[in-house]
Amino acid sequence: MKTIRNFVCILFLVSSLNMMAQEYSQELTGGSDLTVKFENVVADLYIEGHTGNKLTVEATGLEPPPEKAAGLKALKRTGLDNTGLALNIDEYDHVIIISGGSSEQNLSYKIGLPEKVNLVITNTWSFQEKNLEVHKMKGEIEINRQFGKVNLFDVTGPVVATVNNGELNVTFSVVNQESPMSLISSQSDIDITLPAGSKATFSLAAGSGEIYTDLDLEKIAEEKEEIDLGDLKVYSPSEGKFISPKGGVRPDVLLPHRYNYTYQFKKGDIDTIGIYNRALGNYYTSNLIYSSWFGGYDYKGTLNGGGVEITIRTQNGNLYLRKSKR
């Protein structure tokens, strides 16, 4: 009696598992010229690269449509559900577009992709905190999301990602040198791990947060401007404009007391605004966005002599840059 009950239980479990995990698969032609774009798919996504040429999708937590929908198909953002998994998959000119998912369900997709394809994942309107994980992809990865955590493991990039609310973690297996990378968050931490021997040229800014690292970065000195003091104008708050003070500019005396630190000068034939660095006693055309009154700065530094340009910006989070531990 007990064994029969166990048997029934197992049978039930197996059949319910079958109902829970449903699969879809499609051959893809093309490699690095192919882009797979997830357009506002509302579900947790787990994407993994493989050496084959198939796109596979496995859905978990998919609930059946209502009885009234018998004989009908769900209409998703880009078209009808043509996978049976609440997803529409369509192809336009070397771009595979995937849309769908469901905000009502606890839905997740496990997706297998040829590792060489480029990946674009956008979710800019959903306020749901869906998670995104990408493993072992070797093409370009572009991510644009407002909410939810993003984890990229063993990727090569180039990675261009904006994750405004939710951590952004990237572990590089190799740092692709082909074209620049950019990682942005306005509210959250950005955490990057890369092989210690990688070549890169970083531009790092953490707004009101901090930057932490164990990488041996070498600072790139700011470009010093040779300025004719006769041409120099400084900003006078009382007059509300840039002026040439009588008797010429004496930055050591005038700037700290009566004038703001910004100054105007001619660089070639171009009017340029620069920042006076009081500590160094020199003029620099620093980046106006980060050399700010708010204490922000833009650290430019090279790793192993420099390489691909990697720009990382967070406003209210911290920035972590690590050596990989293997």
Binding site: V160, S179, S186, G268, D271, N287, Q315
Partner: protein, 262 residues
């Protein structure tokens, strides 16, 4: 006219700009000097070859040579010892056909120029202009690519230019206001901020400030406007503070910014 004069004018020989008398003097010289005639024939053959180049991308080696040439030119003449990383150039694969042919022509004549002692100042300037034009063209074409990383690369190259042509300025503002990647928009803002001293660009930046909806770009704009002492940005900041959709951190930054500006 001696051999040196003739060789220095060799590339001009093919242009309509060359004064008739100089051409005549060169012709006379070619008549009497076998060496120079040989050089001329080589150049003519090369000209023909250039015309015959089929319209397709040159092979990888050739392309790398051009890129390396421009690279070394740039190091030697244009930026005089600047330490910027230049990896980007070597990696630009999808060059336009036009750009690669320009590289070829540039490479050939540039090489000729530099192989001789006593380079004329004007020639260097002409070469600089051509390099700049080529860069402009490349940036404009790269900004249209579907890869966000390539578009950032285009914006980064524009930061190496010593001036911003109107066409390129327009393209950068288009990126700042309309690119679908926030990363590209921020890169465009950082590039444009270098020209914020130019009053027209500054006005455009204030206009653009009122269009931005991404928090990190809004905050970057606030920082920049404060550093620029730009009073015209005050209404935009006030509006941001009043708008209930604005992020709290953006509002805080705007409040601080207003204190510094007013």
């Amino acid at each position: 006219m001696n051999c040196n004069d003739v060789l220095n004018n060799l590339e001009a020989y093919f242009s309509e700009m060359l004064p008739e008398e100089t051409r005549k003097a060169m012709d006379d010289h070619f008549f009497s000097c076998t060496d120079c005639r040989k050089k001329l024939e080589e150049s003519i053959r090369l000209e023909e070859l250039i015309v015959q180049i089929p319209f397709e991308d040159p092979d990888e080696n050739l392309k790398n040579e051009f890129v390396e040439f421009i690279d070394s030119e740039r190091k030697r003449i244009m930026l005089q010892g600047s330490e910027r990383s230049y990896v980007g150039w070597k990696r630009i694969m999808p060059l336009t056909v036009a750009a690669s042919i320009l590289f070829f022509v540039l490479g050939y004549f540039g090489g000729q120029l530099l192989s001789k002692p006593g380079i004329e100042e004007e020639q260097i300037i002409a070469l600089q202009n051509e390099v700049r034009e080529t860069k402009n063209m490349m940036i404009l074409s790269m900004l249209k690519q579907s890869s966000a990383s390539k578009r950032i690369m285009a914006v980064n190259i524009s930061e190496e230019l010593d001036r911003l042509e109107p066409e390129l300025r327009e393209a950068l503002f288009l990126s700042l206001n309309g690119d679908k990647s926030e990363n590209v928009r921020l890169a465009a803002l950082e590039a444009l901020s270098r020209y914020a001293g130019v009053s027209e660009i500054r006005e455009e930046l204030v206009k653009s400030f009122s269009l931005q909806t991404d928090p990190i770009i809004q905050i970057s704009m606030i920082n920049m406007m404060v550093n620029l002492n730009e009073k015209a940005s005050v209404p935009v900041m006030e509006k941001l503070i009043a708008d209930e959709n604005t992020y709290e951190s953006v509002k805080n930054q705007a409040r601080q910014g207003l204190k510094l500006l007013l």
